[in-house]
C-alpha cells in the first residue's frame, strides 16, 4: 500500500498536478489577505468534477506551498503573506533592507522544504496507529470529540472564547439546513426549493472565508513594492540554512505539536517557534536585526504544522485548522469518509497524498528558484486590480458548482456575514468547522441516543468521554479565569 501510493504520487498526472498546485500556492501565499484557506476554497468548485486524487493533491500542494509564498511578501514588503508568516517579517525584512532579500528567500525556502518533509514523515508514522485507535471510539464519544474540536478552535481563537463558540454555532445551524440525514425530513427551508438540499459547503466557504477575506484585504490596501526585484543570491541562502540544523529541528517540533492540536495552527506556531529560538540563542540581541535563525524558525514551524494538522483530520475526521477543515470538506465532497476506516478503504490514495506532500516540498524549491523574479513582480501588482479580479473568480466558482444562480446570491450573503464577523472580531474558522462537522456530530449524536434508548448518559459512559468533557470545560473556563486573576493582580487585591 505504501509503495503503491508512492507509484501513484510519482505518476506524470500527479507530478503535473503537484507543480500546478505549488505554483498556485506560492502565488496565493504572496498576496496579503489571500492565504491557503482562500485559495483552497476558490479551487473547490474547479475540482468538483476532477478525479479525487487530482483534486485532493492540488489542494495539498497549494497548502504546502502557501507558507513559502507568504514568506516572500514578509521578507520583501514587511507585510505577512498570511498569519503563518508574521514572525518571518521580524528578521526577514531587515535582511531585505540590508540588500540580502534573495539570501533571505533562500533561507526560507530551505527551512520550509526540510520542515515540510519532517512534518509529513510524522504524519506517515503517526496516522496509521492513530487510525487504529480511532476504530475504538463509539458514536457518543465521536459526537463529544466533534464538539470538542469546534470548542477548541472557537475557544482558542481570538481573545473572547464566547465569540468563537457563537461562530461555531452559526456554522452548525447552517449545516442543519436541508434534509436531515437520518429521517429525511426537510428542515429550515422556509418554503424555498433552493434550501431543500441545504446550502452547498463550497458556497459557504467561498463566502465566509474567501470573499470576506478579500474585501478586508482590499479595504486595508496592499503595500506595493517599488522595485519588484530581489538582491542577494537565493541559492546561497538555501545552502546556508543547513548550518542551523537544530533551529530547523526545534521549530519543526513546535510546528508539529501545534499543528496536530485543534486550535493551534500556523498563526501560533510561527510566533512560538520564533520565541523559542530567541530564548535558546547565545546572542538573542541579533534577533529582529536579520538573524538567520529568526527567519528559519517561523518558516520551519509553519511548514511542519500543515502536514501535522492532517493527523486528526484523516484519522478522526476532526480538523485542527481552518485549512484542514476545507480539506475535510473536499474529502466529504468526494464521498470519502475520513476517520475510522480511511486507511483500510482508501489506503493507496492516502499514502499517495502523503508522498505527494513530500514531492511538493521539493517542487516549491524548484519552482521558487525558477520563477523567483516572476513571484517578486507579483508584489508590485496593485491590490485594487488583483482583489476585484479574484472576487470575480469567487462568483464564477460559486455558480459553476451546480450552475445555479442562487448559489451566487448565497455566496454574497455569506460574504457579508463573514465580513461583519471578521470586522467585529468573531473568528471565522469555527464557523467553517461547524459547517463541516455539523453532519458528523449530528449523526453520531442521534446514533448514540438511539443505541442508549434516548439516555443522555451515553455521552458520559466512558473514561475517554469524561476526559473530553474535562478538556472542553477547561477550554471554555480557563481564559475567563485567567482574565479574572490578571484583573485582580492588577488591582493589587490580596486574599
Amino acid at each position: 500500500m505504501v509503495l503503491d501510493g508512492l507509484m501513484q504520487a510519482i505518476s506524470p498526472v500527479s507530478l503535473l498536478t503537484i507543480l500546478f498546485g505549488v505554483f498556485t500556492g506560492i502565488v496565493v501565499g504572496i498576496v496579503p489577505g489571500i492565504g491557503a484557506g482562500v485559495g483552497m476554497a476558490l479551487l473547490l468548485p474547479l475540482i468538483f468534477n476532477a478525479p479525487p486524487f487530482v483534486g485532493l493533491m492540488l489542494l495539498l500542494a497549494l497548502w504546502a506551498a502557501d507558507g513559502y509564498g507568504g514568506s516572500i511578501s514578509s521578507i520583501l514588503l514587511n507585510v505577512p503573506g498570511g498569519v503563518g508568516a508574521v514572525a518571518t517579517c521580524f528578521d526577514g525584512y531587515p535582511m531585505s533592507q540590508q540588500g540580502k532579500g534573495g539570501y533571505a528567500i533562500g533561507l526560507a525556502m530551505a527551512a520550509s522544504m526540510v520542515a515540510g518533509i519532517l512534518g509529513t514523515m510524522v504524519l506517515m508514522l503517526a496516522a496509521p496507529p492513530f487510525s487504529r485507535f480511532a476504530v475504538n471510539i463509539n458514536s457518543a464519544d465521536y459526537a463529544v470529540l466533534g464538539l470538542l474540536g469546534m470548542t477548541m478552535i472557537g475557544g482558542l481563537s481570538g481573545k473572547e472564547p464566547i465569540k468563537g463558540l457563537i461562530s461555531a454555532s452559526i456554522g452548525l445551524m447552517v449545516s442543519f439546513i436541508g434534509f436531515d440525514l437520518i429521517s429525511g425530513f426537510v428542515r429550515y427551508s422556509f418554503g424555498t426549493m433552493y434550501l431543500y438540499d441545504g446550502i452547498e459547503l463550497t458556497v459557504v466557504l467561498i463566502g465566509v472565508f474567501a470573499i470576506s477575506s478579500l474585501v478586508e484585504a482590499g479595504q486595508e490596501g496592499g503595500t506595493v513594492a517599488q522595485l519588484g526585484k530581489i538582491s542577494g543570491r537565493v541559492w546561497e541562502g538555501f545552502f546556508h540554512a543547513f548550518r542551523y540544523p537544530l533551529a530547523i529541528l526545534r521549530s519543526s517540533v513546535v510546528g508539529v505539536i501545534l499543528g496536530a492540536l485543534p486550535g493551534g495552527g500556523v498563526s501560533i506556531a510561527n510566533l512560538m517557534a520564533y520565541e523559542v529560538e530567541r530564548r535558546v540563542a547565545k546572542n538573542p540581541d541579533r534577533f529582529g536585526k536579520g538573524a538567520p535563525e529568526g527567519l528559519i524558525a517561523p518558516e520551519a514551524a509553519n511548514n511542519s504544522c500543515q502536514p501535522a494538522a492532517l493527523i486528526p483530520t484523516l484519522t478522526l475526521g476532526i480538523p485542527a485548522t481552518s485549512a484542514s477543515a476545507i480539506f475535510l470538506g473536499a474529502l466529504v465532497m468526494y464521498g470519502i469518509q475520513p476517520g475510522l476506516n480511511l486507511f483500510q478503504s482508501k489506503g493507496v490514495l492516502v499514502w499517495a497524498l502523503m508522498w505527494g506532500i513530500i514531492i511538493a516540498s521539493f517542487a516549491y524549491v524548484i519552482i521558487g528558484v525558477l520563477f523567483a523574479n516572476f513571484f517578486v513582480r507579483l508584489t508590485v501588482v496593485p491590490v485594487e486590480y488583483l482583489i476585484p479580479i479574484t472576487l470575480v473568480t469567487c462568483y464564477i466558482g460559486a455558480y459553476s458548482i451546480h450552475s445555479n444562480f442562487y448559489d451566487m446570491i448565497a455566496v454574497f450573503f455569506f460574504g457579508l456575514l463573514g465580513f461583519f464577523m471578521r470586522t467585529l472580531k468573531y473568528p471565522v474558522a469555527p464557523a467553517v468547522l461547524g459547517v463541516v462537522l455539523g453532519p458528523v456530530v449530528e449523526i453520531n449524536f442521534n446514533r448514540a441516543l438511539l443505541i442508549s434508548d434516548g439516555s443522555y448518559g451515553a455521552f458520559f459512559s466512558s473514561v475517554f468521554s469524561w476526559v473530553l468533557w474535562i478538556i472542553l470545560a477547561a477550554v471554555i473556563v480557563v481564559p475567563y479565569l485567567r482574565k479574572a486573576v490578571r484583573g485582580k493582580a492588577g488591582s493589587g487585591r490580596t486574599y
Binding site: 464566547i162 465569540k163 463558540l165 457563537i166 454555532s169 452559526i170 452548525l172 445551524m173 442543519f176 436531515d180 437520518i182 429521517s183 425530513f185 428542515r187 429550515y188 422556509f190 470573499i211 474585501v215 478586508e216 482590499g218 479595504q219 486595508e220 490596501g221 496593485p382 491590490v383 485594487e384 486590480y385 482583489i387 476585484p388 479580479i389 472576487l391 470575480v392 462568483y395 464564477i396 455558480y399 459553476s400 450552475s403 444562480f405 451566487m408 446570491i409 454574497f412 460574504g415 457579508l416 465580513f419 461583519f420 470586522t423 467585529l424 456530530v441 449530528e442 449524536f445 442521534n446 441516543l449
Partner: protein, 150 residues
Amino acid sequence: MLKKSEQLEVGFVLFLMAIFGVFLAAGLDYPPETRRLPLLISALTIVLLGIQLFSLLAKARRSQASPAGEAVPVDWRKSLLCFGVLGIALAVAFLFGIIVSSVTIVFGCGLVFGARNRVKLSLISLATGLVVYVVFVRVFNVVLYRGILF
C-alpha cells in the same frame, strides 16, 4: 450613549439573536429526533448571545466617556461600498449574464479600492470579461449564466 462601533456590535448580536430565535421557533414543529440537536444549539446560542449582549452593554457603561457621535471608521466605507458593487453585480448578472457582471465587479471594486487611472481600469475590466469568456466558455466548456435579457 453607545459609540458607533459599539452600536454596530450590539446590532449584530441582536440580529443573530433574531436569526437563532427564528430557527428555534421554526424547529419546534419538527419531529422530535429531527429537532433535538438544532433546538439545543439554537437555545444555547441565544443564551451565549444574551451573555455577550450583557457584557457589551456593561463594557460600554464602564468605558470612558467619549463623543457619542463617533463616525463609523472610514475604512469600513470602502468595504460596504465594495459589497454594494457586488450586490449590483448580482443584479447585472441576473439581467445581462456573468461576463458583463465580471466587468462590473472589476471596474466597480477597482474604483472603490482606489484605482486612479480609469482608462487602465476600464481596459483591465474588459480584459477580465474577455478572459472569463475564453477560459470558462471556450476552454472549459462551462455554461455561464446568460441573464434573462440574452
